[in-house]
Subunit: 388 residues, 2 copies
Amino acid sequence: MTFHDRARFPRGFRCASRNVGLKPEARDLTLFASEVDAAAAAVFTRNQFPGAPIILGRETLKGGVLRAIIANSKVSNVATGDRGIENARRMAAAASAELGTDAGRMLVSSTGVIGVQLPVEKIERGVRGMTADLQDDPLVGAEGIMTTDTHPKALSVSVGDATITWVAKGSGMIEPNMATMLAYIFTDAALDAATLDRLLRDAVGVSFNMLSVDTDTSTSDTCAILANGLAGPVDEPAFREALVAGCVRMTEILARDGEGAEHLLRVTVRQAATDVEARFVAKALVNSPLIKTMVHGADPNVGRILMAIGKCTDVTINTSATNASVNGYQVVGNGVRLDFDDAVVRAALAVEVVDLEVSLGAGLATARAYGCDLTKGYIDENAAYYSS
Amino acid sequence: MTFHDRARFPRGFRCASRNVGLKPEARDLTLFASEVDAAAAAVFTRNQFPGAPIILGRETLKGGVLRAIIANSKVSNVATGDRGIENARRMAAAASAELGTDAGRMLVSSTGVIGVQLPVEKIERGVRGMTADLQDDPLVGAEGIMTTDTHPKALSVSVGDATITWVAKGSGMIEPNMATMLAYIFTDAALDAATLDRLLRDAVGVSFNMLSVDTDTSTSDTCAILANGLAGPVDEPAFREALVAGCVRMTEILARDGEGAEHLLRVTVRQAATDVEARFVAKALVNSPLIKTMVHGADPNVGRILMAIGKCTDVTINTSATNASVNGYQVVGNGVRLDFDDAVVRAALAVEVVDLEVSLGAGLATARAYGCDLTKGYIDENAAYYSS
């Protein structure tokens, strides 16, 4: 799958972002819009305290049609009660009035501090005139939705005559359960809402849902796909393949930009008894603080890999047939740490992308999880997030 | 429960520790001995890659009798195959020969790096003459079993004529599943092995098993109790109460000395639907990196408490009746973050012991979990543990 050198939008999609006073200076309000109605599907966080925009979004997506997305950063509008829901509705109404569409076709996202009321008047005032700012560059929208991200995140790829474009944000509080923080996918392919929903769930299952920066599942996770049909029909298998590839690539981009991260960590589990167990072990390894710090320090303390597999007490493991390798270099054979040159393993760990592969000798299932190392940067960002 | 000002042993127990060359200078080999055989019980890690001493210890404890414990630090003898088992047996044999007892009454513990063979000859040579060093101070043994601990850990309490003494170590790789890293409990009360086993499992269930420094379950966790009977029979309810109190207190001491920790974090969950769910939510909160960093920074970002409760997607939560408080100060009411003075919550967080209490409005079950904040010290200790 070859992504475009510079991300671009499919036909008919544009975006705008600006500062409306939620943050001191940075862009804090972003509008993504299609020039015609688009078939749509979305997956949302499974957190039991979902934000008001999630509650509203589930209702909106029942129609299977979206025209636009309005997203703010700084305040997430979570744990804000009835007033939060009302504010999310007001945000949808203001953005749809500006765009000349129906509030029922506007997806709302909010990201930032939990438990603070949305300054909705600033958004209502600030959204006025944004239609005139709409432009072709997805990075403008990607920048507008950033919180602790260090760079804006957008990708695009061609599938026949159609284009698929991903715009996403996310850096901490990431162990998505049905989606990542905010990931929007735009295409001009003609696909109906039911097909989009099926394709999206399949793609999210092997990508955003296998991402974990810190085991903490956000209350605002949203992954939505909009297909406006302007490029006509598309070959579904090719579209599906591209959709999965782009979601996986965006997952890697998000993991690498995890709060404080210096390494992308990919954990592949093979020979598990079931898919569920393969995913469980892959997540356990990618989340283990002692694996994450080992990767951070490039410390060849690979015995920890067995600790992290073994702590999955309810998973079937053939302990005498368990193997592990680090970037292709085998360090565990038949459940025993092999003798090796520490310097070689240190060198294998001291690269930007660390692939950890383990095989459990218990079956045929495979899974891959995505994460990052644990550094002092994560602590710097999160010990004073609210106050800064 | 009033613990002794300075920990002391029950009648008939003594210990010795010395450097035998596993570490450059610090004590690395420790012997705990009873002058007569003691009824004994133990719980071990449930990690699927248990160390050789765990495999041997399970066999040894079948007899229900121990005379002594021999423990080394620096190398954990885990993932070392058949040679590891053989080395654990040699360690037991050498220590029991020195003491003049049977190898079947010697519990072996090893803690340190995973996957490195035990330098057993150094232990065999080094253990000679240790009987002559045996002394009355439990802190001598506590110091001998330290790894990344910042201080030796021992407690004692009187129960009628009897004494109970705890000696423990543990600082990282701590989310015990059936016990903590190494915790030894000595008493001169007369209790049989079956009674000890029952009392120990009950006490561990509400103490060491509710401790988590970093979600990583060690391959070497051992908690053993030895009762040599020299003080005669004891009132069982009083003994049980003291045993639980001491295990909880030692759990708090271990949590507070978690790697890099600056705060003890206690999370109490009330009104859960079941005991299992109460424990699950308490562990989720005590392990949440975003809760841990919030405590570290005394950042009043208490919306994160709802995030961490809500990410327990399979737990019954009455979201509109969920409450939370920080050191007695209510911050969440009926599922909504309350308005409060940030400075007050900041002050409530900025103390050494942080009590987080949440109630789920779903039932009558309660659980408490023990942990610590997440700091840069944890990363310093673990990014180069093997190499330093």
